[in-house]
Amino acid sequence: MSSFAYFPHTGEDIRAMLERIGVSSLDDLYFDVPADFLHKGEYDLPSAMSEQEVRSYFEKLGAMNTTLKVFVGQGAYDHYVPSVIPYITSRSEFLTSYTPYQSEISQGTLRYIFEYQSMICRMTGMDISNASMYDGPTAAAEALRMCVACTRRRNKVVMSTKLLPNVQQVIRTYMKYPDMELVAADDVLAELGPDVAGVLVPSVGKHGGIQDLEGYADRIHACGALMAVYCDLSTLAVLRTPAEWGADIAVGDGQSLGIPLNFGGPYVGFMACKKDYMRKLPGRIVGQTVDGEGRRCFVLTLQAREQHIRREKATSNICSNESLMALWVTVYLSLMGPEGMRKVNELGSAGAHYLHDRLMSTGKFEDFMTGRNYLNEFCLKPLVDVEKLQKALLDGGYFAALQLEDGTVTFCVTEKHGKEEIDGLVKIVEGL
């Protein structure tokens, strides 16, 4: 056979191995496959590329994309990524390791997940966090499933229509097939009743408004249901936490903590809850214990909840998590600390309010944020042709003014974009 860098077998190796097995050719290893099913001939695929051909092909694909100055959030935020993070996360001991079932040779993974869980608990105010979910929207759907699992004989769940559109869409998908009823409402409290298992509300709405959830927990708990809050992890450094609102479950996405935009993934969903519901929390969880010599160590624990043991009795089928992205978040929060997290929120908020005010002064928008508090994301009602507005921004290298279903256009500012870039955006709008 011709040599190939990833396959170490020489012709001599193959001969010797076939001899030990007692068959005469590689084809003989497939003796039990009916002839009808054996693939004949070659795949209709390109011929093998050398490494430099692969590189130049992907660079060509990359060149077909347009890198823009991103002024849209909606669940994916263009924050600065400290150079330490990819340096750590690309260490092969982390990158190429398996799920840490063999705890004796996985203490690195287990320790960072324990740190991650502890940081999620601190950021959300919850007692216990799992080792991560696929993304925010799937975590939200799992949270509502969990509410049903935590209550008896209740199978109705309520979600706020203030949630991000993609969060609502994934929840709709997850709730369509099992025997559960989903209600979407602007006023979720009006939907409460004896059959409601859980309610999911955002901490910041899709228009960017910080939600006032005062009294929600009392009303929801009085009806015997659980309260879940969807939040952006970064903003919890400055906003009232799910625990401070009295929630039972906190979910959301951790992408805003130093994970690149990556055209939508991989990101990392988080899910944390109050102690009482620990046994119903889906996904892997790492716990502390001691080894045979009494040394502190860490293991995957409470596994009896999980799909590989409980099979169809498990709350969720989740198996893989987003471990490496959880490391991404853990390193980010370690670098930032309390001070960095405060600052990053201040920079985004200051930039967003400045952009908001400047855009309003162009006379091309009607305000949508009057009476609403917001942080780094906001919406306006356009008084100009939206397509024209978006095209002008795009031509100037900006991705901004994404239109939501209700016609408003959304903007987001992070610390990555200073006053000069904001002024550039405003100038394009003024020129319309």
């Binding site: 060149a63 190429t96 950021m123 930032m336």
Partner: protein
């Protein structure tokens, strides 16, 4: 690997920082009203950049990865993760794209996804893939939702039962349950295959379909798949292919040709993207012609799926090209059979036929002459392997055998690597006879000894507390 006992919180000193942010342009910072503001501290550690780098480097040194050594891990397909794939996924022209950017600005990303879709469709014989699922189990769930959409669209919504063989991966029944389906388990025959006769009476108007993996978790090819497919289709059901065991089929057999209607494939197994200590993965779902109209209906993740993982898998496929893809399956199968044949005199081989990518031993052979063998369990053997610098095989799965040791080498392992592993497995068998205590108390050279898992589960400590 050496033991290192710090947590990042324990390195914290008030006033220390590890961030570097622009000073800002003196724009006024708006005040958050008190009732919306966070009340308590964040409790995050306060550490310098060098603290962070050293801490996580130390943690990494307690970890084993594919780059450290061989993983004989059944059903997990831990193959070498090529470095060019990482470099391509990290190109700023990909990592800097916002998922909601207009089509005209993401043509390269779309071309890449289309190219990967075409390649996977060609390799599997399916018509088209959705890339929303972020993992294998997530793919199963998405695929079963598609199964339900197919039946609902045909006014056949009463089909709410799915047949799952007892050798199936544990995620299959869990995924079926989450998709609102009831599970009917079908037992394997003594030769490890699904019995067509057992299947027949189960088929009827309530059956949505069957979930199978082929080769199954014993590494055996379900050779009656043609008959099974005909029967299931005749009763109005669909066939779901769990792609976790797809690796040995590369170049040889396509699930679409076997009659499967829906399948997922684990890019983090078959297409070499790294496991990252448990994720991120990617579990695209492919469908046959008859399920194609429903492919876009279940929206099971937030944006476009794990794009970064797709880049790596596509780079892998292009590097292999059509020539080497043809060889991947046969070489993986060669490696599995080579180990199987080399140890069957010492390890019990319940099903002694040619296997595919993996095979299962049922513990050590107890021939009466070798004292002490019953005292060494599969767990002990697994832990002793760690001492010799190997990851453990998958153990106690499938559930069909009490002392199951499930071994899957992949095509990226050389004969020398396999020979060394075989030697160690023989040494361990000898140790089990001579001095079983050395197995029972293993590992001896890992950063830690066996942890107390019972204590961890009885009194869970899952969050760091100062002075705890």
């Amino acid at each position: 690997m050496k033991y290192y006992d710090r947590l990042i919180f324990e390195l914290s000193h008030p006033g220390r920082t590890g961030f570097s942010l622009p000073a800002g342009d003196s724009l006024p910072v708006p005040e958050i009203p008190a009732h919306l503001r966070r009340q308590g501290d964040t409790g995050l550690p306060e550490v310098s950049e060098v603290d962070v780098v050293r801490h996580y480097t130390n943690l990494s040194q307690m970890n084993f990865g594919v780059d450290t050594g061989f993983y004989p891990l059944g059903s997990c397909t831990m193959k070498y993760n090529p470095k060019i794939n990482e470099e391509m996924a990290n190109l700023p022209a990909f990592t800097g794209l916002h998922p909601l950017q207009p089509e005209s600005t993401v043509k390269g990303a779309k071309t890449l996804i289309d190219g990967l879709d075409k390649a996977l469709s060609e390799i599997t014989g399916m018509k088209k893939f959705t890339f929303l699922p972020c993992a294998g189990a997530h793919g199963e769930l998405t695929g079963l939702m598609l199964m339900r959409e197919y039946h609902m669209a045909r006014g056949d919504a009463a089909r709410t039962k799915v047949i799952v063989p007892d050798s199936a991966h544990g995620t299959n029944p869990a995924s079926a349950h989450v998709a609102g389906l009831d599970i009917i388990e079908v037992k394997s025959r003594p030769d490890g295959l699904v019995d067509v006769e057992d299947l027949k009476p189960l088929l009827g108007p309530e059956i949505a379909g069957i979930m199978m993996t082929n080769p199954n978790t014993l590494g055996l090819f379900e050779k009656e798949i043609g008959k099974i497919a005909a029967l299931v289709h005749e009763c109005g059901g669909l066939l779901y292919y769990d792609g976790a065991n797809m690796n040995p089929m590369l170049g040889k057999v396509r699930p679409g040709d076997m009659g499967f209607d829906i399948m997922h494939i684990n890019l983090h197994k078959t297409f070499s993207t790294p496991h990252g200590g448990g994720g991120p993965g990617s579990g695209p779902v492919g469908v046959s012609e008859r399920v194609l109209p429903y492919l876009a209906i279940p929206v099971t993740s937030g944006f476009h799926g794990n794009f970064g993982v797709m880049v790596k898998a596509y780079a892998y496929i292009l590097t292999l090209g059509r020539e080497n893809l043809l060889m991947a399956g046969p070489l993986a199968t060669l490696n599995a059979n080579y180990i199987k044949e080399s140890l069957k005199d010492l390890y019990k081989l319940p099903i002694p036929t040619v296997c595919k990518h993996e095979f299962v031993y049922d513990g050590l052979i107890d021939d009466g002459a070798r004292e002490g063998v019953p005292g060494a369990t599969t767990l002990d053997i697994a832990k002793r392997l760690l001492d010799y610098g190997y990851h453990a095989p998958t153990i106690y799965f499938p559930l069909l055998f009490h002392q199951a040791l499930m071994i899957e080498p992949t095509e990226t392992e050389s004969k020398e690597t396999l020979d060394a592993f075989i030697d160690v497995m023989r040494t361990i068998a000898e140790e089990a006879a001579r001095d079983p205590e050395i197995l029972r108390s293993a590992p001896h050279n890992a950063p830690i000894r066996r942890p107390d898992e019972t204590e961890a589960a009885r009194n869970p400590i899952v969050c760091w507390q100062p002075n705890a």
